[in-house]
Amino acid sequence: MSTHYTATAKGLHWLMAILLFGLLALGFYMQDLPLSPEKLQLYSWHKWAGVTAFLLVLVRLAWRATHRPPALPIGMSKLMQLASHSGHAALYLLMIAIPLSGWLMSSAKGFQTVWFGVLPIPDLLDKNRELGETLALLHQSLNLIFVALIVGHIAAALKHHFIDHDDILKHMSPHPEK
């Protein structure tokens, strides 16, 4: 059993980490801006990046399903193993649910997503103002949960490295030799 994730898994993890931080920061920043051409531009960029993240997570899940990740350290308690597995499952679930909720919201708001301004993504719902606002609230709530999970994910990685002194963090290190 390898002690490292594959280079592809690492690449996808860190690429998505950068992309998702950007998406979260942009998402929380742009929502309270007064309506302006810049705001419309930022929304378009956010949606293009969101579609990209959605496609990447599908690739990532396919890779994960066909490539076994490194085993957890032997000393980990059953409870901690359960926490690890359910935490990762929840992260994947939200990486699917959040772009879907954004897509549904855009459809209900009557604002079709056109990927990079070129490829139209079909609307999943008819225009409906109330539903659009409900879905906006859903999108926001899911993201708040996602932020809490990411904080937990990073805290757990740091705990393994600095307190437990195991090599969990190194499994995902971009440098394979270390």
């Binding site: 309506l35 810049e38 419309l40 531009q41 009557g110 604002f111 079709q112 301004g117």
Partner: protein, 189 residues
């Protein structure tokens, strides 16, 4: 001889597109519930649409005498549905329609030209935000029971009417071309 005359009259009548019953029908009572003014435009490659909920009109149209038709429309610009309450408020503001100073858009038809069949070309003056443009509007007319339905569309450039000034004046985010589509249903008196 008699047979030929009858045939000629029938042919002439058909060629002129006149109703065989000689009675003229004038469509003048606009049914607001069955009429609509919609618009579509591009926003960063995304097709957006909206509509105006309120407008008033004065109309008289007799299919037998289309060139004598009269039509004018006053669209309540504050009645816009631009997709969200945020957008509705924004377009009512000074940079867009400035509805406090210019509450209505007005179209007055000057002439109606029959193009054959049920197609017509309406030339007239469109005034929005204190700026007037001569426009030509292609329209079709079809009688449906007691009512007549006018359908048509035309494109305006928002820049011609200073719709979207200041930071909105560039067309990279919100395109210049706005396609206006209408359906007016009117009944005869």
């Amino acid at each position: 001889m008699k047979r030929i005359t009858l045939a000629s009259i029938a042919a002439l009548t058909l060629a002129a597109g006149l109703p065989l019953s000689a009675q003229a029908v004038e469509y003048s009572q606009v049914n607001a519930a069955k009429s609509a003014i919609n618009f579509t435009y591009q926003q960063m490659g995304v097709k957006m649409d909206g509509n105006f909920r309120k407008f008033s009109s004065q109309l008289s149209f007799d299919p037998a005498r289309p060139t004598e038709a009269k039509a004018s429309f006053d669209v309540d610009l504050a009645s816009i549905d631009a997709g969200s309450s945020e957008a509705d408020q924004e377009v009512a503001g000074k940079a867009w329609f400035n509805t406090k100073a210019f509450p209505t858009a007005r179209f007055v038809a000057g002439s109606v030209k029959p193009l054959g069949g049920n197609r017509y070309e309406v030339a007239g003056k469109l005034t929005i935000k204190g700026r007037s443009q001569d426009i030509v509007v292609p329209a079709t007319f079809s009688a449906q029971g007691n009512s007549g339905v006018f359908d048509g569309s035309f494109t305006i450039r928002r820049g011609d009417f200073a719709i979207g000034e200041g930071s909105w004046a560039k067309f990279d985010i919100v395109a210049n071309d706005i396609l206006v589509k209408f359906r007016i249903t009117a009944s005869s008196k």
